[in-house]
Amino acid sequence: MIGYIIRRIGQAIIVIVGVTILVFILRHLLPGSIARAILGVHATPVAIAAFNRQNGLDHPLPVQYLAFLDQLLHGNLGYSFKQNMTVDAIVLHDLPNDVLLVGVSLVLALLIAIPVGILQAVQRNKLTDYTATGVAFILYSMPPYLLGLLLIAFFAVNLRVLPAEAPQAPTISGVLADPVALVLPIATLTLITIALFSRYMRSSAIDSLTQDYIRTARAKGLRQTAILFRHLLRNSLIPVATLVGISIPGILTFGLIVEQLFNFPGIGLAYFNAAVNGDYPVVFGITVLVAAATVVGNLIADIAYAVLDPRVRYD
């Protein structure tokens, strides 16, 4: 197993380096240039050349890439000329807000999706199962911003009980000071995440229900509730680690959409504003960061799976 883990870590490193190469190439393939974005459309070629020389943008691409990689290895994601801040500072500033939004939504989604999945497995092909499946299908098929929009239309525009906008404070303490405004963004992201999880939880629980240990537990006369909570729930928790790991890119993408929709002060919104304003260092810094989070999430999921489930053997 140690060999497996080392091999997986090696793979992850290769993938992350590959991502940086690809992002770097993309940055130079895309039409807009950093100098143009900063100096404006009327900048003279001389001014652009001077800007490029000043910021090392006139070196050959491989040299620039190595400089970019060197900065990344030192934990430096880039520098936003537009906002006159390092990308690290921007990300670190918004990170607590994202941890709050994504974290709470993720926990809520798991707390709902796991019991519902088990209930569906037990009540398989009955009304409860069909209803839950139907709701999950619709949630899954709905463009995420449409779901948020429906919630806004109903709770903010019609009923006027919840604000349509997330807390508009820049810091985490300010955001927490306005919990009512957090309800709709968190509810939206939670529902989307439940839709991502629920099918998986259902089939996972169905798989577990057919296992021998469940039959053994039944045969020795355990009550249904004991079987469900002591055996089924525990075993259905194993794939959750995997599930959360592989869902990271999806959750981050939906997180961005939710942040944009509710104007939630998070990294996703910072990314969105940077993309709109042509703030390329921020765009590419956050892209690399999200890609790295995806790879690390997958890595942790795989390792957790190998560690948690003694039945899995890797040679």
Binding site: Q11, I14, V15, I16, G18, V19, L22, V23, L26, L30, P31, G32, N125, F137, I138, Y140, S141, M142, P143, P144, Y145, L146, L149, L150, A153, V157, R199, Y200, R202, S203, S204, I206, D207, T210, P239, T242, I246, P249, L252, T253, L256, I257, Q260, Y271, F272, A275, V276, V283, I286, T287, V290, A291, A292, T294, V295, N298, A301, D302, Y305, V312
Partner: protein
């Protein structure tokens, strides 16, 4: 990463014991899926209705979806405009049909192109194995790690794509799933006796791949392609919301929704919900078909 995906539980197969029917030709298995599985049938009927609405509807409901009409903007639903008009004076019912055409075209085309690329890539990677497989699959991992929607938001600020370009870009980002699935299947198929037999008889790799391996993964391919259509329509709607969509006056459902959002507080519900409903209906329908086919063809997929 693939090691885990292969072990992820798939939704259980069909009820009863007749799970494996790989002796039938693929088209008959697909046909049976629709006759036996109510969900798949419902999905198919829904798709037929939507396709008829979008492509045959304009034959009966004539509207001008090119020229704007400033004299009749934001009108409530009435006899003349059953679903009202939008802020440019387009008839919303007619625009739903026009938008459906482009959305369905993009969805189907992306599914076809992405599946074709993915199948070839996956089968080659799985068949040749070794170093080639490692390199090819790491490349897939790299692309999978890059947040696609993020990139599109950036792309949207740079340019607006044409129909063909939009299909190509979406396809280039959607072939990763089928590539991994088909590679996984190929790994188990390539050591089968019949592959060995073809090799003994002097069959070349190309023949083994195209005549034996690809046809044997057809179940996986068909099921995945169905989900691909749903995903493509859904992603297209998301991208339209962020402005990466076909240029006007071409309509898409996502574009209509994005435009309608501006009027949420004005109470112009007809500019928002009909388009949203069409997206949900169509995506649900293709997901139903995919689910039904998967159960009937007994395909194990990592997702859902």
């Amino acid at each position: 990463m693939t090691d885990i995906a292969a072990q992820a539980p798939a939704s259980a197969g069909p009820e009863g014991g007749e799970a494996i029917r790989h002796h039938d030709p693929a088209w008959r298995m697909i046909l049976r899926a629709f006759t036996e599985n109510k969900l798949a049938l419902a999905g198919l009927i829904l798709v037929v209705v939507v396709v008829l609405f979008c492509f045959a509807g304009p034959l009966f409901w004539h509207t001008n979806q090119v020229a704007t009409n400033i004299m009749q903007v934001n009108q409530r639903p009435s006899g003349k405009h059953p679903l009202g008009t939008d802020d440019l004076g387009y008839d919303v019912l007619g625009r739903l049909m026009a938008g459906g055409q482009s959305s369905l075209e993009v969805g189907l085309a992306v599914a076809l192109v992405a599946t074709a690329i993915g199948v070839l890539y996956g089968v080659i990677s799985g068949f040749f194995g070794g170093l080639a497989d490692t390199v090819l699959m790491r490349f897939v991992d790299i692309l999978l790690a890059i947040p696609v929607v993020y990139l599109f938001i950036d792309l949207a600020t740079e340019f607006r794509p044409t129909l063909v370009l939009l299909i190509l870009v979406l396809s280039l980002l959607s072939w990763l799933g089928p590539a991994r699935l088909v590679r996984g299947e190929t790994l188990s198929l390539r050591v089968r006796e019949y592959v060995e037999a073809v090799r003994t008889m002097g069959g070349r790799s190309g023949r083994i791949i195209l005549r034996h391996l690809v046809p044997n993964t057809i179940g996986t391919i068909v099921v995945n392609a169905t989900f691909q259509v749903a995903d493509a329509i859904s992603i297209l709607a998301v991208l339209s919301y962020f402005g990466f969509s076909l240029p006007p006056p071409t309509a898409t459902w996502g574009g209509m929704l994005e435009n309608g959002v501006n009027f949420l507080y004005d109470g112009y519900w007809w500019e928002i919900y009909p388009a949203g409903l069409m997206i949900v209906l169509t995506v649900v329908a293709f997901n139903f078909i995919g689910d039904g086919l998967r159960d009937s063809l007994d395909v194990r997929l990592q997702r859902r």
